[in-house]
Amino acid sequence: MDNHTVIETIDLRKEYKRDEFHVIALQKANLLIQQSEFVALMGPSGSGKSTLLYLIAAIDRPSQGRVRVLGQDLQELSDKAIAQWRNENIGFVFQTFNLIPVLTARENVELPLLLTGLSKKQRIEHAQTALKLVGLEDRMSHYPRQLSGGQEQRVAIARAIVTDPALILADEPTGDLDAHSAHEILTILARLNKEQNKTVVMVTHDPHAARFAGKIRYLEKGELLPEGSSPPI
């Protein structure tokens, strides 16, 4: 692993029990992503895309194998240390936006900064800057219910980048959006990748969305297909 490697997974495997069924969600996943790459993870539902993303974000623990992100072996960290590490290094964008309904756009974006040592004034300035980056400087005091789906997702992206993480993980970020809003969101992610050198990993099953990425990796039935290969149609 060189200095430019952001994500490295080695023989990653995730299995779990659902009632009496034993499910293998991911197996033998070996992934290498370099700094400033924009990678799309594609595959049908149940192929293990989101599982892989959750393991990279340390939201879930692997059953076997190793995950190394930004030089940190995630298995070595306690739950508390992982929470702090995630706050500092990962920006996560969900399919369903997942904004807190009782907070304004600015307060939602400010939320991850509560875990930092910044003063209130600094937190507000950072949140405003992040919202400006996604073009929502005129919607700071709006509540999520007062925003369109596309605007909500832009707030979610602002929340993901407000701590200036090196890695942005997006789980089907355009899944709940119309074509126009989806295009806006993908443009923002591509801009963050190009202009701010953020490494972006995006789960999608939309080929149009995947075209924004510099590299596409396919998963099928829990297996990550070799780089450069795509599943048979």
Partner: protein, 385 residues
Amino acid sequence: MWKYIPFAFKNTLRNKRRTLLTIASVAVSILLLAVLIAVYHAFYFREGSPQEALRLVVRNRVSLAFALPEHYEQRIRQLCGVREVGSLSWFGGVYIDSRPEHFFPRFATDPEKIFLIYPEMKISAEQLKAFQSERTSAAIGKSLAQKHNLRLGQRIVLKGDIYPTDLELTIRAIFEGTQGSSDNVLYFHRKYLQEGLPQRRQGYVGTFGILADAPESVPRIAREVDDMFRNADRQTKTDSERAFQLSFVAMLGNVKLFLLSICSAVVFTILLVSTNTMAMSVRERIKEIGVLKTLGFTTGKVLAMIIAESVIVAMIGGVVGCSLAYLVGMGLGGRVPMMSSGLLIPSVVPTISLAVAFVIGVVSSVFPAFHASHVPITDALRHVG
């Protein structure tokens, strides 16, 4: 930690109706609790006035229903430390009719002594003289005068029930009581009562009031009075005025246990209500908790924020309940025995009530919060609330 409080507060506004109802239920419970604690305090812990600490009451050892010979007064007066002795006999009787609104305490007494033994009752020298000099006169408290619209010079009739005689009285004095002492009362001449009684019932009084020279003398005087009449036909039981008042409370049964039981039931009930509300509130937000943990919030921080949210609601309810308790306390003036000037809410009551509200906030949320904060992030994100 304080930077999370605005977020916790905003979460309380998520479902305004539910929050308001929870605050209302906590407030009503805390109101009830505060009033009960105040009653308990008034009965068992209230510090009497300096004058009250100097007074004793002598009654028949068997029961208050049995009288004492009036000549006991002369022997009691001779005891060391006794500054004044006077009699008080509960007349009872009926004023206008026997409806509760026409009821008030009426005592036959010694007009020369009653205002010496009870110096906190303020009366003008002129009216005191008028009261003392006319055998059929009566002195009434200011509250009583206002309540029944009674004036100086007005004649009233008390029909006897315990005593077989009717009394025609003229109001010659209106005195003013102070906090803690009743001025919802009527005093008249003992001698006037005696005149209307058959021979065999004359020469007896209900109780004697003693004014001691110092609070330290009170226990000794009580002991010496009872010793003095130990072998008499009618034995005495002498208590401090405070203990005498508490003996009325004791007649109601085990009031302490009763009050404590109600307090416990109130706290337990509101605990269940609050726990249910918090469980509902938290269950609806499992997915959001997953999002918070994805953003980097630890399990402990999530737990603390949910508990803080519950404590905020409970404390608002506690403050409202305590404020209402003060209003209720003032409203109870003259309606509860021993609380003629209102139920005083001592400073310990808000302290206890708010502490209980705090504990309710913590305990009611700790189990739902613990459960929610420990749901794995992947499960929380999949949760449909």
